[in-house]
Symmetry: C2
Subunit: 474 residues, 2 copies
Amino acid sequence: MITENTSPAAGTVSAEEALKYLLLLVDVSELYNHSLGTYDFDLVIMVAEKSKKDPKEYLPFLNSLKKMEENYQHYSIDKHLKRYQKALHHLSKCGPEHFTEFLNLVKDQKLYNEALKLYPSDTQEYKAVGDAYGEYLNQKHLPEQAGLIFARCGAFEKALDAFVNSGSWQQALCMAAQLRHTEDKLASLARGMAGKLVEQRKHMDAAVLLEQYAKDYEEAILLLLEGAAWDEALRLIYKYGRLDILETNFKPSLLEAHRNHLLFLETQKAMFCRHKKRLLVVRELKEQARDGLLDDEAPNCPESDLFSETSSVVTTSDMGSKYTHSNSRISARSSKNRRKAERKKHSLKEGSPLEDVALLEALRDAIRSTDSLKGEVRSLLKGLVLFDYDAQAQELQQALEETLHSMECSLPVIWSADLQHGPANQVLGPNSTANSIMAAYQQRRSVAPAVQDAELLIAPKLNKNIQWKLNLLQ
Amino acid sequence: MITENTSPAAGTVSAEEALKYLLLLVDVSELYNHSLGTYDFDLVIMVAEKSKKDPKEYLPFLNSLKKMEENYQHYSIDKHLKRYQKALHHLSKCGPEHFTEFLNLVKDQKLYNEALKLYPSDTQEYKAVGDAYGEYLNQKHLPEQAGLIFARCGAFEKALDAFVNSGSWQQALCMAAQLRHTEDKLASLARGMAGKLVEQRKHMDAAVLLEQYAKDYEEAILLLLEGAAWDEALRLIYKYGRLDILETNFKPSLLEAHRNHLLFLETQKAMFCRHKKRLLVVRELKEQARDGLLDDEAPNCPESDLFSETSSVVTTSDMGSKYTHSNSRISARSSKNRRKAERKKHSLKEGSPLEDVALLEALRDAIRSTDSLKGEVRSLLKGLVLFDYDAQAQELQQALEETLHSMECSLPVIWSADLQHGPANQVLGPNSTANSIMAAYQQRRSVAPAVQDAELLIAPKLNKNIQWKLNLLQ
C-alpha cells in the first residue's frame, strides 16, 4: 500500500492523506516498520511524525542509519525488521570487513543454504560458510551430509572424518586421495573402517578395504568367510593363490555355518510348534468364555476380564454406535495403544490380554525369518557340494525343506478363514434371525483377535520365486 | 518271509511246507522273484519247481547266472529284479572291465549321486561319473550345479563353461585360475562375463570384472555410472586418478539420472491419479447396480452382468450354504480362476468384471515402485549435492516427497475401512432386523471386490525406516 502511495505519480499530498486514513485502520508501529522496510527515510519520518511517536525514540536510530553505507544501511534495517534473508543479501555486498558479522548472522539464523548461494564456490567466503555449515550438520548428528558440504568447500580433512563417522567408506577414500595420503596412512584408514563395517555385518565392503587398500589378502578372505560370502571368498583365494586357506579356514567355516543353520532351524521349529499349540489353547479359552456369556443371553453386557482389553481396542468403530459419548476417549486410548504396540511388541506372557496377537506376530516372524534363509542356505549348499560334503548338504536342505513345509501346512490352522472374514457368512441362512446373526458376530469377534495391523490377520506368503534347493541333492 | 523260512534253525522240511502254504497265498512269480533276490539258487529252484513253472523258462537263465563271478551274478540278478541301486553297488565291485556297463547303468537310471559314493574322489571312475553327471545337469538346464560337479571331478574346462553360462562369475574365475589362463585370456573372459552381467543390471559385479581382471578402469567406471552406483564410481575415479571422468561422464550421468527420475515420478503420479479416479467410478457403478437390485427386493436373484463374474469367485464360502450341490464345481472353478489370475494380472480394461481388483493392484504397484525409489534417490541426491547441483537435488527431493505424500493421503480412500471389514458393523443397531443385516451384507459384497489375494484389501505400507531425505535440502 505504502509503495503505491509513495510512487511519483501519486504525489506527496495524496500520500499524506492516505497516511492519515491508514493510521485509523492499521497499528502504528506496524506502519512504521513497513515504511522503514522501503528504506525511504522521508516516508519513515512522515509516518513517525503522524504517528505521534516520541522523536527521542526513533530519531537517534534513523540518524545512525543515515550515516551508513547503503548496503549496510539496508542490512541494518532488514535485520531490525527480522527480514534475515534480505539482511544476509545486503550484508554480503558490504565487503570482506563485514564477513564476520555475515557469518554470525548465518549461524544465528541457520541461513547456510542461502549464504552459500551468495558467493562463488571458489571464494574464501564460500569455504568459510561451508565449513560452518558442516560443523552445524555434524552437531545435528548428520555426519554424512556434513561430509558432503565439507568436501564441496575443500575442507577435506573434516570431510574425511565426517565420512568415516557416517560409514561412507567410499567417500572417505576419495577424501584420502584428495589429501594424498601415503600408502601406510591409507592402509590404517582402511583397517579402521573395515572394523566398523564388520560390526554392521557389511563384510563384503570391509573385505574390499582390506584387499585393495590395506593389501591384506588373508584378512580380507577371513572376513568374507565370517560374512558367509563363499563365492567372493573363493574368488580371492584363487586370485591370490592362497589355496592353503581352503583347508585351514574355508572348509571349517562351511561346516560351522552348516551347524549353525541346523541349530537355528531346530530352534525356529520348536518355537513355532510351541506358539501354535498355545494359540489354539488361547482361542479355545476365548471361545469358551464367549459361549458362557452368550448362555446368559446378555450379548451387550461388559465383556469378561479375559479379553476386555482386547475388545476395547478392536471394536472402536462398532462400539461407536452404542457409546457415542465415550468415542473420543476410546479412540484416543486406542491410538495410544497403537503407538505403544508399535514401539514394543505385544506380550507373549500367558494370559496377557493380547496374547493371541502376540502369538500371531511371533508365528509370522518365525515364518519370515525361516523363509528369508533360502538365499543364504542355497549359497552354503553350493559350497558344501563343491567340497564333497554331500551328506551335510543333504541334511541341511532337508531340514529347511521340512521346516518350511511344516510351517506352510500350519498356515490354514493359524490363519483360518474365520480370522479374516468371520464365520458370520455361514449363518446367513433362510432361518437366521437378527439374534442369531448377532450371536454369530459376537462369536466372530472372539475368534478374530484385536489387531491394529490388519496384515497380521493374513497368512504370510512364502517366497516361491527363489529356487533355493539343489536338484542334485534330491 | 522267505528269509525266515530258509534260516538254518527252521530246516529244509519246514521250509518246503511253508512254501506250499505260501503258494496258496502269494502270486507265483512274485515269490520266484523274492527267492531270486536272496541269491540262493537252491531256494530259487525249489520255488520254481513247486510253482509248476516250465523249466525251459527259467533253467537257461539260472545256469547262465551260476557261471558268473559272484558280484557280477548279484548285479545281474538285481538288474533283472530292477533293484538298480543294489545292482550298481555289485557292479562297482566287478573291476574296470565292467566300468562302461556301470556308467551306462548310471546314466540309464540316473543314479549319479549313488555312483559317486562308490569311488574315491581321486579315481578315474569318480571323474568319469562326475563328468556324466555334469553333462546330465547341463541337459536339465542346471548349469550352475553342473559346474559344481565338473569342478569337483577336475573337469575345469567344462566347469568354466557351465559357470559362465549360469552367471556364476566368481566360480568361473576360480576355474580360470585352475586352468592357469593367461592374462589376455582372463581379460577376455572377464569382458564377456561383464557384458552378460550388465544385461542383468548387475553393474557392480561387471565393474569388478573389468577393473580387476580386464584392468579397464575407465570402462569399469562407466559401467558403475550406468548402474547409478555413484559412490563406487567415485571411489574408482579417485583410486585411479581419473578425475577427468568427473566432468566428461560423472556429472552428465548424474543429471541424466535426475531427469529420468523426475520423468518417472511424473508418470507414476499421473497413472496413480487416473486409476484412483476410475476406481471410485467403478465402485459407484457397482453400488448403483446393487441398489437397483435391492429395490426390486430380490437379494437372492442372479446378479447383474457387471459383477457376476466377481461374485461367483468371491462368495464361494457364502454361496456354499445355499447351493451345497454345486459347491465342488464352484470351488474347482474358483481355484482355476485363482491360478489364471496368478499367471496374468487382472484386466484394467474399462468394464471388465474384475476391473476394481485390477485397479487396486495397479495402485498398489504404483505405490510400491515409488516407495522403493527412496534408497536410489537418496544416493542420487548426495551426488547432486556433492557437485553443487543443489537446485536439481531440491527439485527431485520435493518431487518424490510430494508423490509419496499424495499417495499416502489417498490410502484411506482407496483402502477404505469398508474394503476389509464391510460396513455391516454399523448396521448392527438395536433396530436391525435379519433383513436389514442381510441387505448390509449384500451391499458390503458390492464394495469389497472379488479378491483371491487378501493382501490386496490392505493398504500397502510405506517404508518409514529409511531416512531418504537430505535435511540440508529442506
